[in-house]
Structure formats: structure tokens, C-alpha cells
């Protein structure tokens, strides 16, 4: 069984753009990528420096400010725009009066840690299984194929909730989230790697190596992995934002990072009730999450074009491509959002 449809569907053909326009678009794409990259760099820096920043601006992410909220009115921040002040740059959290700026910065730590960790693990699992399926015999290939089909029919979020419930409460949550997201989301990588392996297998240099008596491990390491790097890195660029969203989604459903640790998804989920009374509280984590995922997507697209000039940019801002390449078993493993 296959999902040719999707493979075909996703292999879009971009416009044959004229030379000057093409260059302009590329430039544009690069500029967007540069902005996105800079933004993400800044976020990463802030996240890494969060404890230092906390000391510098004198805000503890967990310090309560009961005087900054109106207790009789459900704990809504006093003052306008969610209680913005010289001391609390982005206002305070309703119900607790905790500083939002520093909590958002700390939240970035969690988001990035979980997303990057899960992506690395997904790639490790996906590449191993993909190569095994590609190089293995028909039986192994079929078995692994069915396995990924099962994982595709699996309601990822429901399983994630169940898995987080199975694990004892003392288990470190970020690690748990990394494991859950990775274990449920390796299917896409595996499919791509398998497809690539199958086509590489037919190429002369791999065939030669196999004929020359190299074992499957040697072939995988020496011949396949270097050629797989480009598509895998491209795919990582898609996985990263997907995983950020996945972490936020799990926290949104209440099974993610545990309080008092700040996380964007958790802030969003408690913010859902406040969209009328304190809109600023919703807009901040929502906007930040949106921009981060957007930046990752832009950067990923640019990376993809840069790495494989034959591939058009997914966003239709890349190079001309004349023939449709039929890929098999492309990922259908969408993001859980």
C-alpha cells in the first residue's frame, strides 16, 4: 500500500519565472530567511540566557505579585494592556501577577529544548528504520511499511495523552515530551529515507559497493548516509516547527510541561479563558509561537532550496523545474495541530 497520491500531489510544479523576476524572488526569499534566522538566533540567545536575564532585570519567573491584580474581579491585572509597566514590560499574568516577559523567555527554553530534542530523536529512529526497510528484504520492508501505516492511523494526540499518563509523575517532563513526540512521529522521516534508499540502491556506486561485498551496515554508513544528508536536513526543517506546535498542543491539552515551569502551550491553555477579560495575555504567547513557527518555516524553505537546487522551494519562490518527479511514500504524517 502506498500513498502515491500524496507524493504526486505534493510534488508541485512552480511557475517558470522569468530571469529577473526569479532573481528578485530569490533575493526576497533570502532576505526573509535572513530575518527569520536572526529572529530565531535572538530567541535562542534569550532562551539560553534566561537565568542571567532574570537577574539582570530583577524579575523571577515564579514570583507572585498579589498587589498587581484585582482579586475581587477574578484576578485580572490592574492597569491597562494586561498591567504593562516599566517594571513588567509585557504585563503580568492574571491570577498570580507573575511577570509575563520573563515567563515567555523561560517558556522559549522549554519549547526549543523539546522541539530540538524530539527532532533529533525522530531523525535517528526514522533514518535507521528507513534504511533498514530500503536495504532489507521484501519481508522486512513490508513489515516496517505496515508499522508506519499503523503509526499513521494512530491518533497521535490521544496516544500522547495516554502515554503521559502511563509514565510515573516523577519522570522529567521535557524528556517525556521529547520521547512521546519522537516515538509517535518518526514515520515521515522513515518513509522519505526509505524512498531515497531505494532509489540510491539502484545507483552505480551503491550497487558497486554491494557487489564488492560490503555488508549492509557498511553500505549504509559509507555510501548512503552522505547522500541522505540533504533530504534529511530538509525534512528536519519541516519537523522542527511541527514539533514546537506538538509540544504546545500537548501542553494546551493539559498534559505537557508541569507548573510552575513556564511553557508557551500552557500559557495559551490558561489564556483561553481570558480572551475577553485580558486579551494581552492571549496575544503574547500566541504571537510568539506563531512567529517562531513562521520563522522556522521560512528558514527551512530557504535551506531546502539552498541544499538541493533541483528542488523548488515549497513556497513557490524557488527555481524552475520542468519535470515532475514522482516520489513514493512521501510523508503524510501531518502535524498534529
Amino acid at each position: 500500500m502506498s500513498t502515491e497520491v500524496l507524493a504526486a500531489a505534493q510534488a508541485g510544479v512552480p511557475a517558470p519565472a522569468s530571469g529577473a523576476r526569479q532573481v528578485w524572488w530569490r533575493l526576497r526569499a533570502r532576505r526573509a530567511a535572513a530575518v527569520a534566522g536572526a529572529g530565531l538566533g535572538l530567541l535562542l540567545l534569550l532562551a539560553l540566557a534566561a537565568p542571567l536575564l532574570s537577574v539582570l532585570i530583577g524579575q523571577d519567573p515564579n514570583a507572585y505579585h498579589d498587589d498587581l491584580i484585582d482579586s475581587a474581579r477574578g484576578g485580572v491585572p490592574t492597569g491597562s494592556y494586561g498591567g504593562i509597566s516599566g517594571e513588567h514590560w509585557l504585563g503580568v499574568e492574571p491570577g498570580t501577577g507573575r511577570d509575563l516577559f520573563i515567563r515567555l523567555v523561560y517558556g522559549a527554553r522549554v519549547s526549543l529544548l523539546v522541539a530540538i530534542g524530539a527532532t533529533v530523536l525522530q531523525v535517528l529512529i526514522g533514518v535507521s528504520i528507513g534504511i533498514a526497510a530500503g536495504l532489507g528484504n521484501r519481508l522486512l520492508d513490508g513489515l516496517l511499511g505496515h508499522l508506519s501505516d499503523v503509526f499513521i492511523a494512530l491518533p497521535t494526540l490521544a496516544f500522547a495523552i495516554a502515554l503521559t499518563a502511563v509514565v510515573p509523575g516523577d519522570f522529567p517532563r521535557p524528556l517525556l515530551l521529547i520521547l512521546v513526540i519522537a516515538l509517535l512521529g518518526w514515520g515521515g522521516t522513515a518513509r522519505i529515507v526509505r524512498a531515497q534508499t531505494l532509489s540510491l540502491k539502484k545507483l552505480d556506486f551503491v550497487a558497486a559497493a554491494r557487489l564488492g561485498g560490503s555488508g549492509p551496515f557498511r553500505v549504509a554508513r559509507r555510501e548512503l548516509l552522505p547522500s541522505l544528508a540533504a533530504p534529511v536536513i530538509t525534512y528536519v526543517a519541516i519537523l522542527l516547527p511541527t514539533n514546537i506546535v506538538a509540544e504546545a498542543g500537548l501542553s494546551f491539552l493539559g498534559v505537557g510541561i508541569r507548573p510552575p515551569t513556564a511553557s508557551w502551550g500552557q500559557m495559551l491553555s490558561s489564556a483561553t479563558t481570558w480572551f475577553r477579560a485580558d486579551p494581552a495575555y492571549v496575544l503574547l504567547p500566541a504571537g510568539l509561537l506563531f512567529l517562531t513557527v513562521l520563522a522556522f518555516t521560512v528558514l527551512g524553505d530557504a535551506l531546502r532550496t539552498a541544499l538541493d537546487p533541483r528542488e523548488a522551494s515549497r513556497l513557490g519562490v524557488g527555481r524552475e523545474r520542468t519535470r515532475r518527479t514522482r516520489r513514493t511514500r512521501t510523508s503524510r504524517k501531518g502535524d498534529p495541530a
Binding site: 500500500m1 500513498t3 502515491e4 497520491v5 500524496l6 504526486a8 500531489a9 508541485g12 510544479v13 512552480p14 511557475a15 517558470p16 519565472a17 524572488w25 505496515h146 501505516d149 499503523v150 499513521i152 492511523a153 494512530l154 491518533p155 497521535t156 494526540l157 490521544a158 496516544f159 495523552i161 495516554a162 502515554l163 499518563a165 502511563v166 516547527p241 506546535v245 504546545a248 498542543g249 494546551f252 491539552l253 495559551l268 489564556a271 480572551f275 475577553r276 486579551p279 492571549v282 496575544l283 500566541a286 509561537l289 506563531f290 513557527v293 513562521l294 522556522f296 518555516t297 521560512v298 515549497r314 513556497l315 513557490g316 519562490v317 515532475r324 503524510r332 501531518g334 498534529p336 495541530a337
Partner: protein, 329 residues
């Protein structure tokens, strides 16, 4: 063709079987005693034991799974105290929480999720095909740039964010749309649509981008074909070419992808329904998972899993039927 369908169907059954085993195994390990939950607070140990016996919770995992399979294919009888309750095949069992038949629970919730899915699909098709066509016709201009960013935004936004923003703008600020509250289609079609509009828009905005991209590339591909060039040479209007020929070429992948997306709408339905408080399958699932309501979890997983698998098959068939370049193997 027939053998292909049969093979796919057999594969689908196998996948669902494995799925049910996995669900059983995972939820078996979830801490908490369903008997205590089902019995209620301040039940004495004897009562809990009785409930446990009634729910057959003391049986080993494989026996319980076997009973589940039996119920699925042959139905199951439950004691009601005074008589017998017959649960017809396919019987997923009774909910631990309220003794309701799982099939009944699912059939109650299904219309909500289906309303959400189909409505959103109509919207994303209109939106996606429309923008896709537009941008294919006006290549390189502002339209294309707008589409590019629209696409980017769509890919970047999880449904709970776009939904929240929509709520803030249309429900809290402008007060144009109500906070969604599901009204059955049979009760009042206008109310049904009016209430579902926000969730539809939220889902459609995210999906439409993908369809716009797909439509655009398919249309462009068709437009580059030789026969279109011939039409142009004969002086057929651009409008007719696009409307009659290019669009026809673009539809198959769009339809196929729609089938797939509809099948997997469930994943996003959990978040959408949680955000908007819609009593659909997604919400049922979230609750059942927390209540360790194994029969409900298994039932919902199988039903939605089946939807995904069947959608996959239909998508491939549809695609093959409309595009001769694809052969089914």
C-alpha cells in the same frame, strides 16, 4: 483493480487489528482502577470487587481482548439486574463511566465531528482552489506574494492559535459570530451553520494554503501542456482554457488530498473541539483517555483509525480513476 482493492482492504483490517492491540496494551498500563471510578466515591471494597467482576477487569489482558473481539463480531449480553441488555455487533462494549453502549456514544458524537470536517472541507476547497487559480493566472504579482505569505502563515499556525484569534476578533471584539455551541443540523440548519462557522474558518484557513499551492501547481502544469498551447493557438479564450481544461486537470489531486485530510481531521478535531467546546469525537476521546475508559478509547480509535485508512484507499482510487498516469500496484 479488484485484487488491488481487496489487498488494500486486507491491509486496512490488519492495520486496524494491530491498532486495537496497541491501544489495549497501552491503556492497560495506565494507572488508576476503572472499577473504583465506575463505582463512585465511598464505595466499599466489596462493591468495588463486584463492579470489577461485572466489568471483567480481573481477567488477564488477552482474555479481555478476546471478549472485546467477540463483542465486535458477535455482540455481547450484559446483566442489568432485572434482565439482560443485548449489545449488538459491532459492540465495543459499555463505557465504564456510565454504562452507555460505546457505539451509541460514538454515533452521538460523530455528527459533530463530521459537521466540523465536511463544513471545513467545503470552505477550504473554495478558498484553496480560488486562491490557487487566482495566483496561477497572475503569476509573479502581488497575488502570488500574498499567496506565498498566506501559505506560510497557514503552515505556521496551529489551530488553537488561529481559533483563539478568531474568537477574540469575531466573538469578543466585533461580536459578529457567536461562541460556537453545537446545534444539530436536523434541528435548525441555519443555527447549525452559524454556530459552526468559527471552527470551520479556523480549520479551513490552515488547510486552504496547502490546496492553494496544489491547485496552483497543477493548473500551471496543465497550462504548459501541448494541447493547451494548441487551444490558445486556435484562439480559445484564456478564461475558457482555465475554466474548462486547466481546472479539470487540477481537480484530481485536490480531491484526493481532501479525502485524506478529511480522514485525518480527527487529530486536529481534538484541539479544535477542546478550544471551542464542541461535543465531538475529539472531545469524547480526551475525556475517555483521562477517565481510563478503555472501551470508549478503543472504539473511538478504531472508528477514526478506520476513517484514516479508508480515506487513504479512497484517495488512491480516486486519483487513479482520474489520472491515467497513475497505476495501482
Amino acid at each position: 483493480m479488484t485484487s488491488y482493492v481487496l489487498r488494500r482492504a486486507a491491509g486496512a483490517v490488519l492495520v486496524l487489528f494491530v491498532l486495537s492491540v496497541v491501544v489495549y496494551a497501552v491503556f492497560y498500563a495506565v494507572p488508576g482502577d476503572p472499577a473504583k471510578l465506575a463505582c463512585g466515591p465511598r464505595c466499599n471494597p466489596a462493591q468495588i470487587a463486584q463492579v470489577r467482576d461485572q466489568l471483567q477487569l480481573d481477567d488477564p489482558l488477552y482474555t479481555r481482548y478476546w471478549h472485546f473481539l467477540q463483542g465486535l463480531f458477535a455482540g455481547h449480553d450484559y446483566s442489568t439486574g432485572t434482565g439482560v441488555l443485548h449489545c449488538n455487533a459491532p459492540c465495543f462494549g459499555l463505557s465504564y463511566q456510565n454504562d452507555q453502549q460505546v457505539t451509541e456514544l460514538i454515533s452521538q458524537r460523530l455528527p459533530v465531528t463530521a459537521s466540523l470536517g465536511f463544513g471545513a472541507m467545503v470552505l477550504w476547497l473554495v478558498l484553496g482552489i480560488g486562491t490557487g487559480l487566482l495566483s496561477a493566472l497572475r503569476r509573479g504579482g502581488t497575488t502570488e506574494r500574498v499567496l506565498t505569505w498566506f501559505t506560510l502563515a497557514g503552515t505556521a499556525t496551529p489551530v488553537f492559535i488561529i481559533g483563539l484569534l478568531l474568537l477574540m476578533v469575531f466573538c469578543a471584539q466585533l461580536q459578529w459570530l457567536p461562541f460556537p455551541s453545537y446545534v444539530p443540523l436536523t434541528e435548525s440548519p441555519e443555527q447549525w451553520a452559524w454556530n459552526m462557522l468559527l471552527p470551520w474558518i479556523a480549520l479551513a484557513l490552515i488547510e486552504a494554503a496547502k490546496y492553494a499551492r496544489l491547485t496552483r501547481s497543477s493548473v500551471l502544469e496543465t497550462l504548459a501542456d501541448d494541447h493547451i498551447r494548441t487551444f490558445r493557438a486556435y484562439g480559445v479564450s484564456e478564461r475558457a482554457i482555465v475554466g474548462r481544461h486547466a481546472l479539470r486537470g487540477a481537480l484530481p489531486p485536490v480531491i484526493a488530498l481532501s479525502a485524506l485530510d478529511l480522514g485525518s481531521i480527527f487529530g486536529s478535531a481534538m484541539l479544535t473541539e477542546t478550544l471551542f467546546g464542541l461535543p465531538g469525537l475529539g472531545q469524547l476521546m480526551v475525556h475517555a483517555v483521562r477517565d481510563i475508559d478503555l472501551p470508549v478509547v478503543v472504539g473511538v480509535v478504531l472508528v477514526t483509525g478506520a476513517a484514516v485508512v479508508i480515506a487513504n484507499i479512497i484517495a488512491d482510487l480516486l486519483y487513479a480513476a482520474t489520472d491515467r498516469r497513475v497505476t495501482l500496484t
